[in-house]
């Protein structure tokens, strides 16, 4: 595989936003966002639908001009000036439906600054890499969603960017292809590319991201290294595998949230609660297969941060 080159490792931030503001017709889409993405890492940009992730991405890439604050991308205050060193996979597939796959890849490579000949060569190499060589001359619209997503990914990294934004890259992929894509993203990171991953799939965030930023309504609600965030929450979750009727575990004292599937339950403890006491209550109520004290999943942290905002905004439910 000769399609990729390594970037020299460098410390510091590939992307830095300071007090970034973007409004549309007076409506704030991004309101004072600070963000720092360390070079050569995978960074998770998380947030509910409509939280301002896409606007943040577009502003960072220079597609939108910020209304306030600043963006420094790859050392430049003008993101457009480094656009050939940047790759982007938008959330909705952006491919020409009536264009052949190989031509499409070569075109997208060429507008990223490669010569036509080099673009052709890399298109072939990437088609081979994602297992689509036999589809090179097929029209994009004739391919499955998963295949298109792989082409879209190839298009985002075909010019060996130093910085790449992947917005929901796993949507539409089966487990085999999701794993392939995960490997390809790791490969990008390993050769020094900084990856910003925007996704709702928290298991992927958990597995891949070094740092995250969780935004809601255009403002950051949580950020930092994943390990630090988890450490801050501590081992505050009792994970139970059990046999017995569902909902038996509800209402245990000291538990502020319980996610129960009927076979697996995760009980989040109030600060200061004695975990041993909660575990004993669990043993009293159901037939336990296994139980352990766990760190919270990123999904639980997400729900804790964003879900609570949503719930507190809703009307109070009578007891």
């Amino acid at each position: 595989m000769t399609a990729t080159q390594s970037h020299p490792p460098s410390a510091g931030s590939a992307l830095q936003c300071q007090a970034l503001v973007k409004t549309f017709d007076g409506q704030v889409a991004v309101g004072g966002l600070d963000l720092s993405v360390r070079t050569g890492t995978i960074f998770g940009l998380l947030g509910p639908n409509g939280s301002g992730k896409t606007t943040t991405i577009r502003t960072c890439l220079g597609i939108y001009r910020p209304d306030g604050g600043s963006v420094t991308l790859l050392g430049s205050r003008d993101p457009l000036s480094v656009r050939h060193r940047v790759g982007y996979l938008p959330e909705e597939r952006g491919l020409y439906a009536r264009m052949k796959v190989r031509e499409q890849l070569a075109f997208l490579a060429s507008i990223r600054g490669l010569t036509l000949r080099e673009s052709d060569r890399r298109a072939d190499a990437w088609l081979e890499r994602v297992g689509l060589t036999d589809r090179a001359n097929v029209l994009t619209r004739e391919m499955s969603k998963g295949m298109q997503q792989k082409v879209q990914f190839a298009a985002a990294v075909i010019h060996d960017p130093e910085f790449v934004v992947l917005d929901e890259p796993f949507s539409g992929l089966d487990p085999v292809n999701a794993r392939l894509l995960q490997d390809l993203i790791f490969e990008q990171r390993d050769r020094g590319t900084t990856v910003v991953l925007s996704t709702h799939q928290m298991d992927q965030v958990e597995a891949m991201c070094e740092s995250i930023c969780l935004i809601d309504k255009g403002r950051p609600v949580l950020g930092g290294r994943l390990s630090d965030i988890k450490a801050e929450y501590g081992r505050n979750t009792v994970a139970v595998e059990y046999v017995g009727p569902r909902d038996r575990l509800a209402g245990i004292a000291g538990v502020r949230a319980c996610h129960d599937t009927g076979r697996l339950a995760r009980l989040q403890l109030e600060p200061g609660t004695d975990a041993q006491q909660v575990m004993r209550a669990v043993f009293d109520r159901v037939e336990v297969r296994s139980v352990r004290l766990d760190e919270p999943h990123i999904e639980e942290i997400y729900l804790d941060k964003v879900g609570s905002v949503r719930l507190s905004a809703a009307a109070p439910v009578p007891a």
């Binding site: 597609i63 939108y64 656009r83 982007y88 938008p90 597939r93 952006g94 020409y96 075109f107």
Partner: protein, 425 residues
């Protein structure tokens, strides 16, 4: 603006256009239809019906037999007079037998001649047939009737009937006089060539402009534009698109011109059949001057309308919206086409001069003027300059609209919004 980036966008757009099935079909079909028009139509119309079977019903004028003799002499179509019947009345009953014969197809038609009803009125003649649309036949019948009627009046006066007939066939030929000299024919020829050239421009703009507009809306709605705008600026994108589509239009024109030239050189024998029948001389119609101005107006008109199509497309969020908005660009073309036709009959009125200087109409109307009656050079070049200025201005506005509207999805920008954007600069 980065020219290399523009070239890459233009290249893709050009290839997408010229590989398009509609483009290939139109590029081939237009010359094919033209060839058919020039060669086949005259041949076909000439050889329409070769023999016609007619009867003459004379309701007391005495013109039946001489009319029959006169009609037998007609060469094309050959007229066979099956019967010359005398009748005392011209009512339905008297005609019933002939009407039935026309209906059962044993007769193509019959002519009924009635004497003058009063002393001051003239003869009355009617032609009954299944098909009454044959212009050649109707002309022959009318001329024959007129000559036998006139001959009837002249009996015993000593006037030579044959001379009268010659006088009746006198035609008025027209010759266009201009600074360059005299040119036989005029209106029909200029009309035909103007219409053909105007249609070429119209078809080329419509096919290519619409294709590009649809592509822009697709790029917007598929979010492909986000990927592209990460690599090129909105202005580069727009410039590339328009250059690509301009290239495809010029390619189409080049194919058409090449086919025309090949046709003129190679197809002369075939053409002479049609040309002779039609009094049509391609060389006299498509003069170098006309072709020169056509090339200019084609390129500039095409450019202006392409920019217009692109600007409309970028404000639309779906192909349905585009379909509804496209008339904004198509309407001036249609108006231009109609104005061009009116110019042909009124080539030197003030209205014509004004219309030909309205940039959106200039390509079609000024072309018509150049063709029918060459206007002063300064007027032509003023039109070209205004057209150029307008194209540049529209492109400038369009670039601003592009930057603003290219990433808008779900909602169309309103006109006040766009005006604000353009003013803000």
């Amino acid at each position: 603006m980065n020219l290399t980036q523009i070239a890459k966008i233009a290249r893709r757009e050009y290839l997408a256009r010229v590989r398009n099935r509609a483009f290939i079909t139109v590029t081939i079909m237009v010359p094919a239809f033209m060839a058919m028009y020039i060669v086949a139509i005259p041949v076909l119309t000439r050889s329409g019906r070769t023999t016609v079977q007619l009867a003459i019903v004379d309701a007391g004028t005495g013109l039946g037999p001489p009319l029959a003799d006169r009609l037998k002499a007609v060469e094309r179509p050959q007229i066979r007079i099956v019967e010359v019947a005398s009748s005392t009345a011209a009512d339905e009953a008297a005609r019933a037998r002939f009407t039935a014969a026309v209906q059962d197809r044993s007769l193509d038609g019959y002519i009924l001649i009635e004497p003058a009803a009063t002393a001051t009125s003239g003869l009355r003649a009617r032609y009954f047939a299944r098909e009454v649309g044959d212009q050649t036949l109707r002309r022959e019948l009318r001329v024959a009737l007129q000559s036998v009627a006139v001959a009837g009046l002249l009996v015993g006066t000593g006037v030579d009937v044959e001379r009268v007939r010659q006088v009746q066939q006198l035609d008025l030929a027209s010759v266009t006089v201009s600074a360059e000299g005299e040119r036989a024919g005029g209106f029909e020829r200029a009309f035909a060539s103007t219409m053909v050239l105007a249609m070429l421009l119209y078809i080329a703009v419509l096919i290519n402009g619409q294709g590009m507009a649809t592509a822009i809306v697709e790029e917007k709605s598929s979010r492909l534009i986000e990927v592209i705008l990460g690599a090129v600026t909105a202005t580069e994108f727009m410039a590339g698109k328009i250059l690509g589509v301009l290239g495809s239009g010029l390619t189409q024109l080049a194919v058409w011109i090449a086919v025309t030239l090949a046709f003129v050189i190679q197809g002369l024998p075939a053409m002479s059949i049609g040309a002779a029948a039609n009094g049509f001389d391609l060389g006299a119609v498509l003069t170098p001057r006309l072709l020169f101005y056509f090339a200019i107006f084609f390129a500039l008109g095409y450019l202006l309308y392409s920019v217009l199509f692109a600007m409309i497309a970028v404000t639309c969020t779906s192909t349905e919206e585009l379909g509804q908005s496209m008339f904004i660009a198509i309407l001036p073309m249609v108006v231009g086409l109609m104005a061009a036709i009116s110019v042909l009959t009124n080539p030197s009125t003030t209205l014509t001069r004004v219309l030909s200087l309205i940039p959106l109409l200039t390509p079609l109307v000024m072309l018509a003027r150049v063709n029918i009656l060459m206007p002063p050079l300064w007027e032509v070049w003023l039109g070209i300059a205004l057209l150029l200025l307008t194209s540049a201005g529209t492109a400038w506005v369009s670039a601003k609209v592009f930057r603003y509207a290219l990433l808008m999805t779900g909602k169309r920008p309103t006109l006040p919004e766009l005006i604000r954007v353009v003013r803000a600069g």
